[in-house]
Amino acid sequence: MNIPPSTLRSRIERHVVLIIPIVASLIFLNQIYRQHVHDLSVWKGGGMGMFAAMDRPRGARFVKIYITDNNDIRMPVTAFDELTYRIQVEPSEKNLDRLLNKLINTQWRYSHHRIPILERNLDGSHTLLDHTPKPTPWGHNELIDVQSIDIEYGQIYFDVKTKVLVGKLIKERHYEY
């Protein structure tokens, strides 16, 4: 059956209004699914969950990376910000493995910078405990003989009864060379 072009167009115009509600609803449902399966942050992914939970990626979620050298010195790593951030947004196994692979396949070197290791006191002040070398993937300095790599992903929670902020470790990756 041939439909005249004008009728066809008016039919399309009548139904085209459904496109955005369908797409937006699918994205919303996908966000809810990934939130429950991969712990996707409520703040991201089109689920309209801003100001709905404490799991703000850069605020309450953390990824700590450590490299241990042949002298058994455990050095915190600050690199690969984008991959780290993706874990903070969605700490899926895939994202953790991706970061671990990147860390394993990187040639780590000692840099001229040193990282202060601090201890937090009860009053909020800090005590300097030590300094460790800062590993870097850049430059021509001495290569680090890496013994192991650790990734710790966690989230900060607040207990309303005791008024205590707690950093809970949720997922870990450990790699021995």
Partner: protein
């Protein structure tokens, strides 16, 4: 109830000359043209930050200033909507929820301009604007109801202390102003790989009054969004009027406290879209709200507090 209605009527009648002036100026624009121009202004002030997006937006805006029919080009809106969709899909980890909403709205405008039939243009615009408001409110309510950190009040207890925009509120309720920075460094220390925190736990010296205020904000925020959702779903004139007055109240009370105006701008445009034909005078208040948001962004808090 009658006293309240008389009060509102009195205010509205005093605003008559202003409304008439606005009406006269706006009558030079079609509804779709005006909504399109407002959206372009939103994109210039609070769009995506990449050049890929900004070039087409700036080009369309400048052409539209001198040649208004450019606002009605579905091709121009398709280019802008494509650029927005690219940004959302490619950088979704970084994209805030209201940017998703912006992208949906750009496609809604593109489709409206593409329609030839005037009825279809209007219908498409109205349905999508209402749907996006409903999605925003329903999404916010569902996510909050599912979130344990929202429902137990912990979200606002910490957010009020760590989001600098709320500092003036803390001063109003007499919170010790060293507490926000104490909480801020506590969060940073718990996140840090180079700071040792005993038992990974830090006690925050919050008093009972502050907890009550945080819980009141928590309940208020959820409740008002829930009521707005219900009112938006109701069809009658009376419910729609209640919806618009409550929404205007929500916008003013929310964005004066938390000036995250990109989202507020878009919400005002959506509400203007659905109210312009049915309640023209109320729709002008949404336009006024756009101006108010610019004022809310100014550093008035630092001057007063």
């Amino acid at each position: 109830m009658n006293t309240k209605n008389n009060f509102i009527d009195n205010i509205m009648s005093k605003l008559d000359p202003a409304f008439n002036t606005i009406e006269e100026h706006l009558s030079k624009w079609t509804h779709l043209e005006l909504v399109s121009m407002l959206t372009l202004i939103l994109l210039i002030f609070h769009g995506f930050i990449t050049d890929n997006f900004n070039y087409p937006v700036q080009l369309v805006f400048l052409v539209a200033v001198f040649y208004r029919p450019a606002l009605s080009s579905s091709l121009a809106w398709a280019v802008i909507a494509l650029a927005a969709s690219y940004e959302v899909m490619n950088f979704w980890h970084h994209t805030a929820n209201h940017k998703f909403l912006t992208a949906y709205w750009l496609w809604a405008l593109c489709i409206s301009h593409w329609c030839e039939d005037e009825m279809s243009k209007e219908r498409n615009l109205m349905i999508n604007a209402r749907f996006l408001i409903l999605l925003t409110m329903a999404g916010a309510c569902i996510q909050k109801l599912m979130s344990s950190s929202y429902m137990d009040g912990s979200f606002f207890e910490i957010s009020l202390l760590t989001i600098p925009s709320f500092n003036f509120l803390l001063q109003l309720i007499g919170v010790d102003m060293s507490l926000p920075s104490f909480t801020h460094t506590a969060m940073a220390d718990l996140r840090s790989a180079s700071t040792v925190v005993a038992q990974n736990a830090i006690s925050i010296p919050i008093d009972a009054t502050f907890s009550i205020v945080a819980m009141a904000v928590t309940v208020w925020n959820l409740l008002i969004q829930f009521v707005l959702e219900i009112l938006c779903l109701c069809r009658g004139d009376r419910f729609q009027l209640m919806f618009h007055w409550l929404f205007l109240f929500f916008i003013q009370t929310t964005y004066i406290a938390a000036p995250f105006v990109g989202f507020g701008f878009l919400i005002c445009i959506l509400c203007y879209t659905i109210s312009a034909k049915r309640f023209p005078r109320i729709s002008y208040l949404y336009l006024a709200s756009l101006l108010m948001m610019v004022i809310y962004q100014s550093p008035w808090r630092q001057v007063l507090f």
